[in-house]
Amino acid sequence: MAEEMRLHLEGLAERHAAAGLSPKEARDAALRQFGHVEGLKEQSRDQRRVGWVEDLFRDFVYAIRSLRSNPGFTAVAVFTLALAIGLNSTTFFLIDKLFICPVAPVDRGHVVTIHTGRKQADGQRSFRAFSFAEFIAIAQAADVFDRVAAVQLSTAAVGRDEDVKTLLVCLVSQDYFSVFGAVPASGRFFRAEETQPNAAQSAAVLSYTFWQKLGGRPDVVGSRITINRRDYTIIGVAPRGFSGANSVAGPEVWLPLGVASAVVRGWTGAEDLSDARVRPLALIGRLLPHLTVNAANARLPDIDARLNASPLSDPDGARQLLVKLPPRLDLSFVWPSDQPWVDESIRTSLGLAMMVLLVASLNLANLLLVRGMTRRKEIAVRLSLGASRGRVVRQLLTEGALLALMGAAAGGIICWWTGQLLTGFFQHIMAGGATSFNLEIEVDPPLLIATLFFCLTATLLFALGPALQATKLDLIEQLKLQPGAASRAGRWNRLFSLQHCLVMGQLALSVMLLFCAGLFVRSNQDESRTDATYLGFQTEREFVAHVNYELTDSCTPDQLKSRQRALLARVRAITGVERASLSSLVPYSTFNWDIRLVSAEQTSTAAAAAHRETVTSVRSLFTAVTDGYFQMLEIPLRRGRDFTPTEAVEGRGRPVAIISEELARTLFGDVDPIGRCLQGAEPGEREIEVVGVVRGPRNDGDWEQRPWPRIYRPLGQVLVPDTYVHVKIAPGTIPGPMLTQLGREMRALDPRTPVLSLQPLAEIVASNVNRVARFLTADIFAISGGLVLILALIGVYGVKAHTVALRTREIGIRIALGARRQEVLALILRQAVVQILVSVAVGGALALAAGRVLSSVLIKISPDDPAALLTSTGLLSTASLVAALVPALRAARTDPTITLRTE
């Protein structure tokens, strides 16, 4: 177009020249004849329909240039957006993966766990596992379930010779994987004939992570693996990230129910699933499509009636079935888990994340407002040159959109990086454990796009306001105006201008958020404690070795006891070992052994009166130990006595037990339990005398305030081939060489019994699955809190820097007129201090209100926790003050001659 016009002008000039004018006069005449070239060009451009695409592109390029020439502003804005988008995406992702996203596609029916409960005299319901026959009967209830699977968890020694490790294995029926709709990553899953009781077909399915650990070879299907000293053929590999219902961890190997007798040993030897009295199974199933959990529960009484009338009925009394959504963080689901803290945590985490986004948006709004004001003059010039208002607004919005895009890109990177960091960290912690860690924290595109969309909308909205305001100018006024003189009269006006209100709002919100985050961090802080006062047992200088006598050739009970006796004596004889003890389970391990206990008196009275169902059974954690165990772990003995070596190691004498205070209180009330008897809840159990009471050590399941009841029996009096050797080394001994010697001695004593592991007790505590999950939750809050602080600081600094810059001229004048630097400083800071005080006061009030709302979720922390309140208000005030101080100092140090000269 320009060329066309040029040619036209040349043609006209030629004619004039031909008519006799000089070249210059000819050109002038041509121009006069033509008209105002630039204006015409602009008009012509406007005529073109295709204009808006070109305009957009040009706006884009201009936006890039303008952002590049303002690196400070751009960096801050992009950083704010990136932090908000990136870290919030990670938070949302974690919460979704841990708690919310359904275990399997819901449209094909809900996945639920099935429980059988019986009402007790005290109003509580007690639950137990199912027998195989019951499982079959329930699986046939076609009006409720699409399919049902049975599950039994166990530990097993996987591998051979030196590579043996104790891992979590899961024995399942053939429908297990199809309940979740899982498709094998390789090979196949179990068939019906493999999962019948005592089928003894040696098939195994590996978890994806375990397959990777073994080398990830494509020909793994068909190769063999040794489990509990038997060879199994690997028939398939589970899909990536599959761990059943658990969000975080799962078994490394799945085996069919048919091999239960080879893998799982009960108290009295191998377990026979075809026996109707053997009840080890937990049930999980899929409801019919479109059937809700409540609707399913409504149909269950029919099945109850059928079961209670059939030969499968329980002699202890009528039972009721119950279905629930599966727990996301428990491995076992015989008892329905009520985790109210989960729902609350989800809500609060989401609320917190939303708030962070809000704060970030406020920050951004402020930045854009400030920028709009700085560019008033430039916009005025553009408007006067002929740009339409819409055009200028469009350009400002394009700039905002560009910022949002850049922020989103940076946010995506942060999200990815955080994910890698967290995954690596947790995999490292769990590497020594017996489960596979299946939580893959990765960038989730839909989530990222949703957050981007939110930020884009917010940015455009915030850019629109200033854009409209900036273009609604009185041009002459604006062109004349000095930036500093834009401040209107009145101190209150200045104090509560839109900008300052935004900042104060941001500060108040930040105080509230920091407080909430602080509350949560403190509430969850305890979970990371590993000191003896919190755990209830000592982990310093404690080490645990694991051997399993089942893995040697079969031995009689007497042989087992004598081997254990020899082991204990040998270990105690090693120099450097202060104390040693054997136990059936490590405290705070991921695995637990629980049994139901009843008071012997109550049982006999009830039996006499034929009221068995009124007997209260207490679910307790069971551990078999040798003498000296409590002393070694520093678990205080409250009453009575410890086991004698005769009882503990040789197993002679009457059946005795030591119980925890919680169990004593539940079974016997306030009466002294020493001398009283209890027994297992199953009919035909022997009576056991209580000889001591200890303060029960903490267990990982102690979310709620009440600790688990615990019972300890002498190792010699029960048959436990799976043995943990606890060793406490003397102070000053170097662990390394001593442990090597320990391993050597143990292997020398019994060459056929492999030492499955040898690690510090503290490490075992750290790799507990539930603890890890809680860590994740606490981390979310800590991250959000830190984020909020950073954003608030950025906001304050940005606004203060700008307002001070606006007043540069005024400050220069004051200094020139004789004001001292301190007076200038005081002048600027006075405003800042007032604003901070107001914000913090409002924020504190908001924080206390929020604390009330959250009080139901907090454990052991009062909602008015003074420490958290003080920290959050103090931290924010100090930080804001510093952020305001920096520009103020800079201003006070300005040379008035320079500032008065510049504009």
Binding site: M1, M5, L40, D46, Q47
Partner: protein
């Protein structure tokens, strides 16, 4: 020759341009010359103001343009009337005659 008041002319510029292109393609300078010529030098528009009109007409699809070389071997952009343009010209001319007839009628009555 005196220039007539330009306002009225600009309102009808589109129609004049289309008419100028009725018989053969012309370039910008050529269109200005043609209008001047067939109005007997009465209509003497500011030459540059043709261009917004030309681009508008092109955007509407009533004329099409391509580069060519002019009489004195110079590069120039030639505009041509399209079929839609011809229809538009006829429509505008009808509209014009109706409007002027009405105005004349008003002015004729005292």
């Amino acid at each position: 020759m005196a220039k007539e008041k330009p306002d009225l002319v600009y309102g009808t510029l589109d129609m004049l341009v289309l008419k100028a292109l009725q018989h053969e393609p012309r370039h910008g300078l050529g269109i200005a010359d043609r209008i001047q010529q067939i109005s007997d030098e009465v209509l003497n528009v500011e030459q540059g103001s043709l261009y917004p009109a030309l681009y508008r007409l092109e955007a509407e699809g009533w004329i099409s343009a391509e580069w060519g070389s002019s009489e004195n071997k110079r590069k120039a952009r030639y505009y041509k009337l399209t079929a839609a343009g011809r229809k538009q010209l006829t429509a505008e001319m009808d509209h014009w005659s109706r409007v002027t007839a009405a105005i004349n009628q008003v002015l004729a009555k005292a």
